[in-house]
């Protein structure tokens, strides 16, 4: 059974997925791998929660998916950002920044 996650965590997965897909269309494993690379190994998306997140984002119309061939000619499900997804990414980044700076402000207090 899926344990309920905090909104912050769920929100950050959406943000990471959307950001990664804004760089290039990608399959599920690639997204996880890319996030790990970009964060130089610090962030590791729980692979189990990645796919439900993808399904959720697709359902709300932020991303689309279709079967495509990889460079090794394997069939894989590729996800790409929609226009709505791009707008949502902007909002997600904005709200993350507010959240991060708020946390920062709190911990900067001497």
């Amino acid at each position: 059974m899926l344990r309920p996650q905090t909104d912050a965590l769920r929100g950050s997965i959406d943000l990471l997925v959307l950001k990664t897909l804004s760089l290039a269309p990608m399959h599920g494993w690639g997204i996880g791998h890319r996030v790990q690379q970009l964060s130089t190994g610090t962030l590791e998306i729980n692979q189990g929660s990645l796919y439900p997140a993808l399904q959720r984002l697709e359902k709300s119309g932020l991303i689309t998916s279709r079967w495509e061939a990889t460079e090794n000619n394997r069939r894989a499900r590729y996800y790409r950002l929609t226009a709505a997804g791009r707008r949502a990414l902007g909002e997600e980044i904005e709200s993350w920044r507010r959240f991060a700076s708020a946390i920062e402000a709190v911990i900067q207090t001497p």
Binding site: Q47, P52, Q55
Partner: protein
């Protein structure tokens, strides 16, 4: 349900598409995960792991594949499906572990559902099955209610032809068409000999209103078309299914008509109980003068216009009835009502049979309730045994809703399984039921007791309700409370709210059982009283047969001469003792019914003032000769029978039965009083004792006899008693009638005792059925009460062990427990009794022969169940106080 493929095919396609998309979602998930794992493994390999190691690591980082799939399904909303599969799986395993319990529960439910299904299947065929015509629910029959003056017709409520026409013209705003009809017996000659056929005289628009199409040829359309339509069955049986009969001439009651066409297969008239062989326009066999001379004979029915609902139509028809001036100035039209044209019976018979079937269905439902309560008791007991399991599952995080659903799945499985067995039992049983009850007018040909969608729908509904009824309470009870209390009690204790819940349940079940048994007892006692009504006449050594000279053109004078000669020659035959004539045999179907009222009352007096004119619609009226009363040995309470002096010129006389006398002149001497009915006024000269005269026979009805010398009937039932065997008597009758006129047919000859037996058999069948239901209910209730009580006492074994160990006296302890149970049982029984009193006051208006409070029933039932309750707890208590306390505690 709509059987048109065009309407359900798209729905089916959508359903399949949904299933396919669900499958494609699953396979997509499958493939995506596999791809992910392969990529991950490849990555690990690139980082230097061995192939095996890489796969293991990939799986490890990914986590539980099934868990992720569940999460995905969850967000897709497909989770319940998996849950359901799991629940069913689990339930089957749980039930299979305790086959004894499962079988008991299944059988109990099957008995309840079977009883209700059997009765409903029969009721459906008799009362609800629609006519085989398009949109049968738009067809309604009009019944006009009249008082004051007098009319002729089955219920005294049929219409004269002109009045029907006025109705038709005045109601064209609500009816797409208003037709009228009259059932009758006709003689039809196509080729060779004449045969007696059952026919319907109809208005010309009859088939148009019904909206059916002919199998061959066409239908007549005008009231005065000289054409006839024959039924499909008659066409196959009598005309060898020859389609060239269309256009051929036939003689119907001696009048020349042509065959217009053949009705569609399966259509046998609008009251399927009286199957018609032919349909003739009203003017076809009755000319205009004849038509107008008949005071009232047509039964109207119409098809509602689309958009007109039945209640507003009823209001309008009622209005129209009052607006059309009555044909006789004395007649008062009280209004008119509408009746749905379903089933095989109409009017008063429909109400009678409907009442009996309703009571039967009620009793069957009671059996089902008791059965449900029993299964609930069983589940409840098992729920206690499973408390530790349920408590543990609650503690490790299972949602209560989820657990309730799981337990309900188990109940649903039991319910559906038991329901399926029950429906099968019921469908088989309904055929038996139909045979045993011999519903009036119902024959194998007309009463189709096959199940249809309505029957299956009701079966499904009762099953569903049953599951909720017996499943919900135990499921909620079983999942209440915390792990802590469950584990602390050790699964054996009976403490706190839970025990209180069970106490309430025991009391409730007893209340229900007492209530149901009181009702069952009332039904049985009413039937017993009904059965006890004496036959009231002597059917021995007698044959009856119908002669119908009127049908072949005899008028009243030549007809009377024919009757006289027939009777005289029969009496002169050796071996014949007595001969008499009657319009109909005492139980030979419904004799003609006419409205009747008292003459000496005040027409303007208010009802209930004692001076008002009494009025009774549709009083069955028989016409008999002077020998009839003495031959049939009808006992007179007052006055005399008919004599030769009551001739055509003498003052008109009538003999009534006790029921009619009670209705018109309660507490007074009816002899010498006058009544008015169709054919004029008549003076009451005698009162005969009530007997079992009509086929229904539930209750004695008002009944009147008129002398043949003063009233004429074109057909009479000949009663012949003699020392000869029935066959020989019949042969003599045929011989003599044939010698008088070879064209007069002798129809339906049978020994009178056979006819009486057939009727009594139906009453006996009904009594037996109620008895079986009541016995099943009693047995189930006793088992249920015993089970729950015994279980409850057993639950307290540990408590009693401790008390004994602490020095309590075994006798006192036993008394305490039995006393506690006794109070609960008594309280429940009293509540049930109270409900029973209320119900019986209501039922006493419907049931014959019971007072408001039937003492025997009310005393016996509670006593019986209290005895069961005491026996139920006595055994376990005795065991509990005799075991070693140490033993009991160690068993924990």
């Amino acid at each position: 349900m709509n059987m048109d493929p065009a309407s359900w095919l798209p729905a089916l396609a959508a359903r399949i598409a949904l299933l396919r998309s669900r499958r494609s979602a699953e396979s997509r998930m499958e493939e995506e995960f596999r791809f992910h794992l392969e990529m991950e493994a490849a990555q690990r390999e690139r980082e230097g792991a061995s192939k095996e190691e890489a796969r293991r690591l990939a799986l490890a980082t990914f986590g539980g594949v099934e868990r992720h799939k569940e999460a995905m399904r969850d967000s897709r909303g497909a989770r319940w499906l998996g849950d359901l599969r799991q629940d069913i799986h689990f339930a089957v395993r749980t039930l299979a572990r305790r086959p004894g319990f499962a079988i008991m529960a299944l059988l109990t439910i099957a008995v309840g559902i079977g009883a209700t299904t059997a009765v409903f299947t029969l009721a459906n065929a008799v009362l609800f099955r629609p006519l085989p015509v398009p949109e049968p629910d738009r067809l309604v029959a009009i019944t006009e209610h009249r008082g004051g003056a007098v009319s002729q017709g089955l219920e005294g409520t049929d219409l004269p032809y002109d009045r029907y026409v006025r109705y038709r013209d005045a109601t064209s705003d609500i009816f797409a068409g208003l037709a009228a009809q009259k059932w009758t017996s006709l003689s039809l000659r196509a080729l060779g000999n004449a045969v007696a056929v059952r026919g319907t005289l109809t208005s010309g628009n009859y088939f148009e209103v019904l909206g059916i199409r002919p199998a061959h040829g066409h239908f007549f359309t005008r009231d005065d078309d000289r054409q006839v339509v024959i039924s499909y069955r008659f066409w196959r049986a009598q005309m060898a299914g020859d389609s060239s009969v269309v256009g051929r001439p036939v003689y119907l009651n001696g009048k020349l008509l042509t065959i217009a066409g053949v009705a569609p297969i399966g259509f046998e008239g609008t009251s399927p109980g009286i199957a018609s062989d032919v349909w003739v326009p009203v003017a076809g066999v009755r000319d205009r003068a004849e038509r107008e001379s008949m005071s009232a004979w047509l039964a109207p029915f119409g098809r509602l216009r689309s958009g007109v609902d039945i209640s507003s139509a009823a209001t309008r028809v009622d209005e129209v009835a009052r607006q059309i001036p009555p044909d006789e100035p004395q007649t008062r039209v009280h209004g008119a009502t509408l009746e749905a044209m379903t089933g095989i019976l109409r009017g008063a018979i429909r109400r009678d049979v409907g009442t009996v079937l309703t009571l039967l269905f009620g009793t069957a439902l009671l059996v089902l309730f008791i059965a449900s309560a029993n299964v609930a008791g069983m589940l409840l007991a098992r729920g206690v045994a499973r408390r530790r399991e349920v408590g543990t599952r609650l503690a490790i995080g299972a949602g209560r809703g989820r657990l309730v659903r799981q337990l309900l799945t188990e109940s649903a499985l039991l319910g559906l399984g038991g329901g399926a067995i029950g429906v099968l039992l019921g469908i088989v049983g309904s055929g038996q039921l139909a045979q045993r009850l011999s519903i009036p007018f119902a024959s194998d040909a007309t009463l189709r007791v096959a199940p249809d969608l309505r029957v299956l729908g009701v079966a499904l509904l009762t099953t569903g309700l049953t599951v909720l009824l017996f499943g919900m309470f135990p499921a909620l009870q079983g999942t209440r409370g915390s792990l802590l209390s469950a584990l602390r009690d050790g699964g054996g204790g009976a403490s706190g709210a839970r025990a209180r819940g069970r106490t309430i349940f025991v009391g409730g079940q007893l209340a229900l059982a007492v209530f149901l048994l009181v009702l069952g007892g009332l039904f049985l006692r009413s039937l017993e009283r009904t059965m006890a009504v004496e036959l009231g006449y002597d059917p021995s050594r007698t044959i009856i047969a119908t002669v119908d000279p009127g049908q072949i053109g005899y008028d009243s004078d030549s007809g009377r001469a024919f009757y006289e000669q027939l009777v005289a020659r029969l009496r002169a035959t050796p071996g014949v003792e007595r001969v008499s004539l009657a319009r109909s045999a005492l139980l030979g179907g419904a004799p003609m019914g006419n409205d009747m009222r008292t003459v000496d009352g005040d027409a303007e007096a208010a009802p209930g003032s004692g001076r008002e004119q009494r009025y009774e619609p549709g009083v069955p009226q028989n016409i008999v000769d002077t020998a009839f009363f003495s031959m049939m040995k009808l006992p007179f309470v007052a006055g005399r029978g008919f004599t030769a002096a009551d001739g055509p010129g003498a003052p008109p006389v009538v003999v009534v039965n006790e029921a009619l006398a009670k209705l018109f002149w309660p507490g007074e001497n009816p002899v010498g009083r006058r009544v008015k009915t169709y054919g004029g006024e008549a003076e009451v000269v005698g009162v005969v004792r009530d007997g079992r005269w009509s086929f229904a026979g539930w209750t004695p009805r008002a009944f009147a006899f008129f002398p043949l010398a003063q009233r004429y009937s074109g057909s009479m039932v000949v009663h012949v008693r003699g020392t000869l065997a029935p066959d020989a008597l019949t042969a003599q009758l045929r011989h003599i009638a044939g010698a008088l006129d070879p064209d007069v047919a002798v129809q339906g000859a049978e020994p009178l005792a056979t006819a009486v037996d057939a009727m009594l058999a139906s009453l006996r069948g009904l009594t037996a059925l109620f008895a079986i239901f009541a016995a099943a209910g009693l047995l189930l209730a006793a088992i249920g009460v015993y089970g729950v009580l015994a279980f409850q006492v057993e639950q307290r074994t540990r408590e009693m062990g401790i008390r004994l160990a602490l020095g309590a006296s075994a006798r006192k302890l036993a008394l305490h427990v039995v006393g506690h149970t006794g109070i609960v049982a008594l309280a429940g029984a009293l509540i049930g009794l109270g409900a029973g009193v209320v119900a019986s006051v209501i039922l006493s208006r419907m049931l014959y022969g019971i007072g408001r409070i039937d003492v025997v029933t009310f005393m016996l039932i509670p006593l019986l169940l209290t005895a069961v309750a005491i026996v139920a707890c006595a055994g376990p208590v005795k065991r509990a106080v005799s075991v070693d306390a140490v033993e009991v505690l160690r068993a924990e």
